[in-house]
């Protein structure tokens, strides 16, 4: 049996009145991939921040290599060989890839930084990006690539324990596959990887052992081999989940949105589609294919260079410049993939975030009815199961998944006819995911039209009526979900060529 | 620490209070005034004399606020050097209405009914004297320029006006530059250097209307090739100006008698409090200082009052 390198016993953490961790037990062995699983707000990220030294524990015992371990600052963690890849990216956008990777552990002579380019290139190559120049400014990279930089940083720091908090939430399946290879290599070198993810299939594939947290407590631990996904889910949520992808009867009606040859500044290059009332359309593609840009273009967040967009009965949207305000008024709404920067106003309350796009519902003559507003927000928080102290708390105190739910709440509250959902379940636990799928079904049943952009194919297959794939800014024709084979999808996503029997 | 001239410790009975409000607290000129104020205070032990500059020097609103606050503090007399001849009228006459004796010094106030006495230099006349000194320095012919002080300062504007009105009387003198304005010593030097850069070759003389512009101009001139060609006539006096007079960089300067001004402002206030008769206008005098007369005994007294002694001894 491998050596136990990390041991946690009775760890508690309080944030003021919030008791986030209430007695966590965790053992991690050399050379294993250890999955940490739990619902949104279960305390996974908090626990890992304690391990990395970002937060102190309120009480409890932690040993690293059988010696007491109480990191006071993040660097203590790194020096002790514990590297952390945070759920919310921790990169300095104005620095280069190399500078970001070496940040805080620069080698230098007389204060002059040494060049580490070869080492960085190796790490990037290991992650499948040998072409990326270490001198590239990180701010110009897409989120997915930025995530890889974080992983490269852990690799370069030669850590003994690497903690990955939802590393694949913004990776393509290709990148995910590559990441798994890397993780296996690391494991074979005796490195322990603590792996946090809401993708349970993924977890099953990569992890050797697991620990489940519920409401800040350890509720189960064991070998991955001996357990099934439904069992894990039961441990997580305290009950069993009947159906991951619930389906509701919904009728597909008139055309609600028609786009012809839409192109943006770089992406998309050409996107045409028709979306009907009650239809759920999935858009798949590799990271960077330009799916987000397509939605942003249609919604008016990015400039549309060419093409036309018409709503039902030929109401044209493109006659005047499209802006988010006009789109919202015309019945379109967008859920952003980047909730930290764009999805939510971090210093505002849950209430204010929920109602921000539809204040007209709780105001008259420009004055807001605060009571009514809170009632509205409470209802959505309730309906979506947002875990919070009270809805008048700032949104920044919520866990990532709960924040996402509030963002969805805002769209639900605005109640458009057409929903653009960009990675709607990013960072959301299985239980809540299933709830969100149900909500999407309900929307469709109510005659709404939905476009979902996702990098997680199973969810698209589980939820959508039809699917299109994007390759380098070009959108494939839309086809019913049954008409797509896996080869077709992957084929178009990776080469832009449809399979032989394209209609 | 405050600026009490004499303390009231020991006695439970409060002494009558006189507040003296300059335009600013931290320039040599005002320090000299302060010296005179404190000298008077030390002679008049029956009074508490407070030196109370506004929180921001040369700021009208701040000076009005200072006077309002002094009214609340119930001082018995206030002697003020108004930053603005009109804007200060209301607060000074409010003080008077509250039974506070009011004296105005250094710069004028438009409404004569707001104060009982005015203790000051005749600034327009000072400008006139400077024009004559300039004419003499350049032998009544040539091109001259002005380095003005900032907009809105009444005393310097009067000097500039006095200078210009007198210089007109010399047919062979032309004013070729009169829009440049300095400020503090640094700004004045920068503008001065640039003025020399552009017009230096044409200029025979430059008039500066107060201490900071004079000092800044001299610093610039000292570094320029026109050092021996251009004659500067300045206003006010301090060690650097003295040195420049002696080494010939400066042709002449007008000197007020700030020490006396402060001294008389306090004395006048006390006379008012004691119901003694006072003049409506007390001229504290202005004279032209040159290399030749600087060491004359009567000049010495005006130029080198030992004001530091009084400030240190408070």
């Amino acid at each position: 049996m491998a050596r136990r390198i990390l041991h946690l016993e009775g760890v508690h953490k309080r944030f003021g009145p919030v008791h986030a961790l209430r007695g966590v037990e965790l053992d991690v062995y050399e050379g294993e991939v250890h999955a940490l699983i739990g619902e949104n707000g279960a305390g996974k990220s908090t626990l890992m921040k304690i391990l990395s030294g970002a937060h102190p524990a309120t009480e409890g015992r932690i040993t690293l290599n059988d010696r007491p371990y109480t990191p006071a600052r993040p660097n203590d963690g790194r020096r002790a060989g514990v590297a952390m890849i945070y759920q919310e990216l921790t990169l300095a956008p104005d620095l280069s890839i190399e500078q970001n990777i070496m940040l805080g552990m620069e080698q230098h002579r007389w204060g002059f930084a040494k060049n580490n380019t070869p080492k960085i290139r190796d790490a990037l190559a290991l992650l499948g990006h040998p072409d990326l120049s270490p001198q590239t400014r990180v701010g110009s990279l897409k989120i997915g690539t930025q995530q890889l930089i974080e992983i490269a940083r852990a690799i370069v720091s030669e850590a003994k324990i690497i903690i990955m908090d939802e590393p694949t939430s913004s990776l393509s399946s290709e990148d995910t596959r590559r990441l798994f290879e890397v993780i296996r290599k690391l494991r074979d070198q005796g490195i322990a990887v603590i792996y946090i993810s809401h993708f349970l299939e993924e977890v099953q594939e990569i992890a050797d052992r697991y620990t489940v947290l519920r409401d800040g407590e350890t509720v189960g631990t064991g070998m991955m081999d001996g357990v099934t996904v439904p069992q894990i889910i039961e441990m997580m949520v305290g009950r069993s989940l009947d159906e991951m992808y619930p389906r509701l009867e919904h009728e597909i009606g008139e055309v609600a949105l028609r786009c012809g040859h839409v192109s943006g500044q770089e992406f998309p290059t050409s996107a045409s589609l028709q979306l009907r009332r009650g239809e759920i359309l999935g858009v798949f593609g590799l990271v960077g294919a330009g799916r987000s840009e397509m939605l942003r273009c249609l919604f008016g967040l990015d400039p549309m260079i060419d093409g036309e967009v018409a709503l039902e009965q030929g109401r044209e949207l493109t006659r005047r410049r499209v802006t988010p305000g006009r789109s919202l008024a015309a019945g379109l709404d967008l859920l952003s993939e980047d909730r930290k920067q764009e999805g939510l106003a971090q210093s505002m309350t849950i209430v204010a975030n929920t109602t921000l796009s539809s204040l007209y519902k709780s105001s008259r003559y420009g004055f807001i009815d605060l009571k009514q507003e809170k009632v509205i927000a409470d209802r959505w928080a309730d309906r979506l199961g947002v875990k919070c102290h009270t809805t008048t708390d700032p949104i920044s105190t919520l866990s990532g998944g709960n924040q996402q739910k509030v963002a969805i709440g805002r769209l639900m509250n605005h109640d458009s006819d057409i929903f653009f959902l960009d990675e709607p379940t990013r960072g959301i636990d299985v239980g809540s995911k299933s709830e969100i799928y149900l909500i999407i079904q309900e929307l469709a049943a109510a005659g709404k039209s939905i476009i979902i952009v996702s990098s997680y194919l199973p969810e698209l297959q589980g939820v959508c009526d039809s699917l299109a794939v994007m390759y380098r800014g070009r959108l494939s024709p839309v086809r019913a979900i049954e008409d797509w084979t896996l080869q077709d999808i992957m084929g178009f996503a990776t080469t832009g060529e449809a399979h032989a029997q394209t209609a | 620490g405050g600026g009490d001239g004499s303390s009231s410790e020991g006695s439970s009975e409060k002494l009558p209070r006189i507040a003296v409000v300059p335009k600013a607290g931290d320039v040599e000129f005002w320090k000299m005034v302060q010296g005179g104020v404190l000298k008077a205070a030390s002679e008049e032990t029956g009074y508490e004399v407070v030196w109370q500059p506004p929180a921001i020097g040369n700021d009208r609103s701040e000076q009005i606020k200072t006077i309002q606050n002094l009214i609340v503090k119930k001082v018995d007399a206030v002697a003020v050097a108004p930053i603005d001849a009109v804007d200060l009228v209301k607060s000074v006459s409010n003080a008077k209405k509250k039974g506070i004796k009011t004296v105005v010094w250094d710069s004028g106030l438009d409404d004569e009914s707001a104060y009982e006495s005015f203790v000051a230099t005749d600034n327009f006349q000072g400008g006139v004297l400077c024009a004559r000194a300039m004419a003499e320095a350049i032998n009544e012919s040539g091109s001259i320029g002005l380095l003005r002080f900032v907009e809105g300062s009444q005393s310097t504007e009067q000097r500039e006006a006095g200078f210009l009105s007198e210089i007109k009387k010399y047919p062979n003198i032309q004013v070729i530059s009169d829009s440049q304005r300095g400020g503090d010593e640094v700004k004045s030097q920068e503008v001065g250097a640039r003025l020399l850069q552009t017009e230096g070759d044409k200029l025979d003389g430059i008039f500066c209307s107060n201490q900071t512009t004079t000092e800044g101009m001299l610093l610039a001139l000292d570094k320029s090739p026109f050092k021996d060609k251009i004659k500067v006539v300045g206003f006010d006096f301090n060690p650097y100006i003295e040195e420049s007079l002696r080494n010939g960089l400066l042709a002449a300067t007008a000197s007020q008698d700030p020490f006396n001004m402060g001294y008389l402002a306090v004395k006048t206030s006390i006379n008012l409090l004691e119901d003694k008769p006072v003049e409506k206008l007390v001229d504290t005098g202005v004279s032209i200082v040159t290399k030749d007369n600087i060491d004359a005994p009567e000049m010495q007294q005006v130029l080198f009052p030992d004001y530091q002694k009084w400030i240190a001894g408070q």
Partner: protein, 336 residues
């Protein structure tokens, strides 16, 4: 549950109480007879301090809107100078020399007030438009317009003070209004209420917070961020114009050289009152208290007969300490 937010809202007051208590102690030490302390706590002093808060207070309310939206306006000092000049110019019937009348008519005063507020509104429009349209940070735009507006003021005024005939506006900051205090004070109170309601109860207020909290999010939620920003600067200009009218009233003439550096006091008032320069926080009441703290300090310094350097050092320290107290409480809130 109910107590905490209440206490939290009281926080700006802690700084205020601190300043008052320290002032009282210092005055009592300086003058043990207690006479000055009595003067300090007299109605006379209270109204003097309140009147002295009016100009900075009203301008700071406008600045509060800008700062909550993560902007800044360095041009307000110059705008106030310009405002006094415009007022005087209009009240003179469009001239820098006062007309030969005993006193200006009510109509002239009304027109002058409107013109002044309008002029500063235009200044705000310019600030907002340039920074939105060309995406230049407001710090730079308003640093530039700080010079430009002052230049315009001097240009209109011909570089000198603009004298005016007697008129009603000159009495706004006197002590003879209701309760022995001029209309200026009531305008300040009204401005506080308007700002508070605007920020807490209106859609516009919500947008201001949203833009300051996350501009991208605001944009996504359909808020026309650029237009709103322009509007916020216009509003700030309107408040500044009103403050400028009060400044005219305080001085009794128009003057292009005044209020140099006043923007820093105004910004300090907002920040002492809990506004964050990163946007997203600030309040009308807090700002008022911030402005009040600064005038109380001025009054205390005169009571103490302090020299300029002592005044500077005291005000400087108190600004830091007042904000420090506020921050310490913030930290506590999240730590305990």
């Amino acid at each position: 549950m109910k107590l905490k937010p209440f206490l939290y809202n009281m926080l700006p007051f802690v700084g205020l109480v601190f300043v008052i208590v320290v002032s009282m102690i210092a005055i009592q030490i300086k003058d043990p007879s207690g006479e000055d302390l009595a003067n300090f706590m007299s109605f006379d002093n209270i109204r003097t301090v309140l009147i002295q808060t009016v100009v900075v207070g009203i301008a700071a309310l406008g600045m509060t809107l800008v700062i909550i939206s993560a902007g800044i306006d360095l041009s307000v000092g110059s705008q106030i100078a310009l405002a006094t000049v415009v007022f005087a110019f209009v009240v003179n019937g469009g001239s820098v020399t006062p007309p030969e009348v005993d006193s200006a008519s009510g109509l002239a005063v009304t027109l002058a007030i409107l013109a002044t507020i309008g002029a500063c509104g235009l200044c705000g429009l310019f600030n907002g438009w340039i920074s939105s349209k060309f995406r230049i940070v407001p710090f730079i735009v308003t640093l530039g317009t700080m010079l430009i507006f002052r230049g315009v003021a001097k240009w209109i005024a011909g570089g000198e003070a603009v004298r005016t005939p007697k008129n009603a506006a000159q009495g706004f900051m006197d002590y003879d209004g209701a309760l022995g205090i001029g209309i200026g004070f009531y305008l300040l109170i009204a401005s506080i209420i308007v700002t508070a309601v605007l920020l807490k109860r209106t859609v516009l207020g919500r947008y201001i917070y949203a833009i300051g909290s996350s501009e991208n999010t605001a944009r996504l939620c359909g808020i026309g961020v650029e237009n709103q920003k322009v509007f916020i600067y216009v509003l700030c200009g309107v408040f500044t114009g009103l403050a400028g009218v009060m400044q005219y009233s305080f001085l009794g003439s128009g003057n292009p050289t005044i209020a140099v550096g006043l923007e820093l006091n105004i910004i300090a008032a907002v920040v002492i009152g809990g506004g964050s320069l990163n946007g997203g926080s600030g309040s009308a009441m807090g700002t008022f208290i911030g402005a009040l703290i600064m005038s109380i300090l001025g009054s205390t310094c005169t009571m103490l007969g302090a020299e300029t350097y002592v005044q500077e050092m005291t005000i400087g320290s108190i600004v830091i300490i007042a904000v420090g107290i506020d921050r310490l409480k913030h930290l506590k809130r999240f730590q305990s």
